[in-house]
């Protein structure tokens, strides 16, 4: 059993799983508390559209996926601000647009489309060292962001208008949260895929929220649940030869259900 740890691909998968648990655990808290859960779906489909366009134009599909998903995450905040509509509505508009672009591109591609679909389904066991370095970099940056601007983030969660009136640069914080969420989601698409990332983004922080009324504890529990889901998924995938992504999602959903049952006993 331990022999598997000596294989490079499994080491990468293990580190990738932990990084996904930490990164998505943190941005998941943001997404849940800002009430924009579908940002994960919109960004992953923007990445899919980007990779399809990349294949069509003969440009590196992964690079194009990153460009498209970052563009989507950068645009949500300012468009919501300009239009006066909720960020959720803009996320819906961007989602439908990138889906349209992706399907159009798929119709035009003559050759194989595997690389584009990999982003939708994910393949944790094929993670490269390059993926790991990128993920580690962005995860470290997100941790620093929470450490140094945690109090401002807390104010934005509480009430954006009050935050502004209290002299807090609310727009900078809100836009940064959206952008960093997009970045983390995009870089983790290879790990568990666009279709499944939604659960890993929502289940761990939601389970954590059920168990605590303290924001710091919510971050820690969310990270813990994220790592637990990823590692358990990976282990089951190895032991029973089942898809890792799907197992990760089932484990994270079970953690949510167990948290709900535990909350039922503790009141509030």
């Amino acid at each position: 059993m331990l022999e598997i740890l000596s294989y490079n691909y499994f080491q990468n998968a293990l580190i990738g799983s932990i990084l996904a648990g930490v990164g998505l655990g943190i941005v998941g808290v943001w997404v849940v508390l800002l009430r924009i859960p579908f940002v994960g779906v919109a960004i992953s489909h923007a990445a899919f559209a980007g990779s399809v366009i990349g294949l069509l134009l003969g440009i590196d599909p992964i690079m194009m996926a990153i460009v498209f998903s970052l563009l989507a995450s950068v645009l949500i905040g300012p468009i919501a601000e300009k239009s006066g509509l909720e960020a959720n509505v803009i996320i819906g508009i961007i989602f439908s647009l990138v889906l349209g672009v992706a399907f159009l591109g798929l119709g035009l591609i003559k050759g194989p489309k595997t690389e584009a679909f990999n982003l939708i389904w994910g393949s944790i066991l094929t993670l490269s060292r390059r993926n790991i370095y990128f993920n580690a970099g962005i995860t470290f940056f997100v941790i620093l962001f929470v450490v140094f601007l945690g109090k401002e983030i807390k104010a934005v969660f509480y009430n954006r208008e009050v935050a502004t009136s209290c002299g807090i640069p609310e727009k900078f914080i809100f836009f940064s949260l959206l952008f960093l969420s997009g970045f983390v989601i995009c870089l983790n698409l290879n790990t568990i895929g666009g279709m499944l990332i939604f659960s890993l983004l929502i289940n761990p922080p939601s389970a954590a929220r059920i168990l605590t009324h303290n924001l710091s504890k919510m971050y820690l529990l969310s990270i813990l649940f994220g790592i637990l889901s990823c590692l358990t998924g990976l282990l089951f995938s190895y032991m029973f030869s089942v898809p890792a992504g799907a197992t990760i999602i089932i484990v994270s959903s079970l953690i949510f259900i167990i948290s709900l049952a535990l909350r039922g006993r503790s009141g509030y």
Binding site: F148, L149, K151, Y158, E161, S165, C166, G167, R209, L215
Partner: protein, 251 residues
């Protein structure tokens, strides 16, 4: 302290403020009244720079609150209409009161003992020390209003803008919040602008009533020359109906 000169603001083709001019002096305790859509909230938001006037000029501490932005806003407290602490947000009462200290502290600096002491003092003054560790989203409407007041007190502001803070409260809570605002005014010598619909429940200490109608100043009354009868045309109702609504109140 607050100078408003010929300020106009239009939303969706409707002029909400129309060439309004108003001076509010240091330690004034002003009630702003008027029917729905008169421009009361818009006026408050132009004072702290949350809204940019289309025409005219607003000066607070001799500065433009839009251009000076955060530095002016740090001295202006604002409690919004229908401020609600969502149950989904995991913040305690202490966390929410400390939000008032965050802008004062500035970016990249952690709140320290001095900030927590200010928050505690504010909670004590408002009478919510026993709620300190409770999840803020689970409080009653009256308790949440007190938390908002403590948040602004913790900021050591010089001006307090209160936008219909009695809305959706039962009469006992309305009276309690009013007496709290009056005692804060007396103790801290703040400049307070108090927007309200509840003419029967004006807090003690108000030294001026400014009535707005259709984005214009309808009347600017001092307690001595104020007659509730003047308000009948403001709300477009006859004196008898007005009396039923406001009773025989006097400033």
């Amino acid at each position: 302290m607050i100078k408003i000169r010929k300020v106009s603001k239009t939303f969706g083709g409707k002029e909400v403020l129309s060439e309004i001019s108003l001076d509010i002096k240091k330690q004034d305790f002003v009630a702003i009244i008027g029917p729905n859509g008169a421009g009361k909230t818009t006026l408050l938001k132009t004072i702290n720079g949350l809204l940019v006037p289309d025409k005219g000029e607003v000066r607070v501490f001799d500065l433009d609150p839009v251009k000076s932005g955060l530095s002016v806003r740090k001295k202006i407290g604002f409690i919004f209409q229908n401020e609600l602490i969502l149950k989904s947000v995991p913040l305690s009462v202490r966390d929410v009161v400390c939000v008032g200290r965050i802008g004062v502290k500035g970016l990249f600096r952690k709140l320290d003992g001095g900030d927590f002491a200010s928050a505690k003092k504010a909670m004590d003054e408002v009478g919510i020390m026993d709620l300190e560790n409770r999840p803020a989203g689970f409080l009653s409407g009256g308790e949440q209003r007190k938390v908002s007041i403590a948040r602004e007190l913790a900021r050591d502001v010089e001006i307090l803008l209160l936008d219909e803070i009695l809305m959706n409260l039962d009469p006992a809570s309305q009276m309690e919040i009013n007496s709290l605002i009056s005692s804060i005014y007396k103790k801290h010598k703040l400049t307070i602008v108090f927007v309200t619909h509840l003419l029967r429940y004006l807090p003690e200490g108000i030294n001026r009533v400014v009535a707005l109608k259709d984005g214009k100043i309808f009347g600017d009354f001092s307690p001595r020359d104020f007659d509730p009868k003047d308000l009948a045309p403001l709300y477009g109702i006859n004196e008898e109906n007005l009396k039923k609504y406001v009773g025989n109140f006097k400033l």
